[in-house]
Amino acid sequence: MSEKENLDSIFIRERIIMSLAEIVGSRDSGTGGHVMRTSEVVQEFALRLYQDGYGLSKDFLSKVIRAAPLHDLGKIAVSDSVLMKNGKYTDEEYACMKKHAAEGAKVVERILNDVESDDFVQVAANVAHYHHEKWDGSGYPDGLSGEDIPIEARIMALADVFDALVSKRCYKPAFSYDKAFSIIEESLGSHFDPSLGKKFLECKDQLIKLYDGYES
């Protein structure tokens, strides 16, 4: 959204993104809040990166913020029995769940190709495709490592994991903010980009304030 554009077209494109995000949310009651919260975490994080002159242009960061609600879009391709399962996945179910990443990128490309700029489609597809990759190469779907993982996906990974840590899931209780941030800190260089992750930790106060708002 860098240049002055027709407002109706901007409005429709925002609606498309939010509608897609809502579809994912409606499939999985736990995901609705997650999609909304992680998107706000990404905005908070992007703001910090912009203010601190991290070296990413505001045009790029605005694309990452807009793309964030689409990161789990591939979950629409995961069967209900897996998506809504309460309990530990079998290996087979986990393999099925993991398909949401690459599938999400395909759906993003199919739906947004004609309505968004190529640059935005690329960012949104990368966010969906690679947000479960890990810095040390142990993530999925492609086992990318380090800077081979697009930076937009490295940003998304931090927001995604943070929300999962402080939220109650069927397999874990909600962790305290302190515990969540210390887990992220311990995972710098293994799960997360160490330099980007350090910046994320600096957002602690703002993120706590954001999440306190969800509880009140």
């Binding site: 998107s39 912009y50 605005s62 954001l210 708002g213």
Partner: protein, 122 residues
Amino acid sequence: MTVMSHKFIHKFLKPIFGKEATMLNIEKKPNGNELTVKLVGRLDTTTAPMLEGELRSSTNGVQDLIFDLSELEYISSAGLRVFLSAQKVMNKQGKMAVRGANEVIMDIFEVTGFIDILNVER
């Protein structure tokens, strides 16, 4: 219409919740065809629907909609979307301006690209 005063929030709600309750105070000042809406507090996922409702019921016939953000602390993506909707409505019936934003809010407008969409007065 004042929804909830800050004094009330700090005196009663803060001790109850043991933390800063995220609240938004919406002050509407109509003046003929002009409406100034002052936002005090945080415009986020929790409070954005409140502003959306207030605008829906009060922008009929308004030709000049002005948002006074001088006491707005924070705006999330949900809040930005309310501005986008308001801008769309006002493009049909008049104009809209956003003024008085603090440095953080200005940075949010910049990094989200909303600086190019809204009429932000510095």
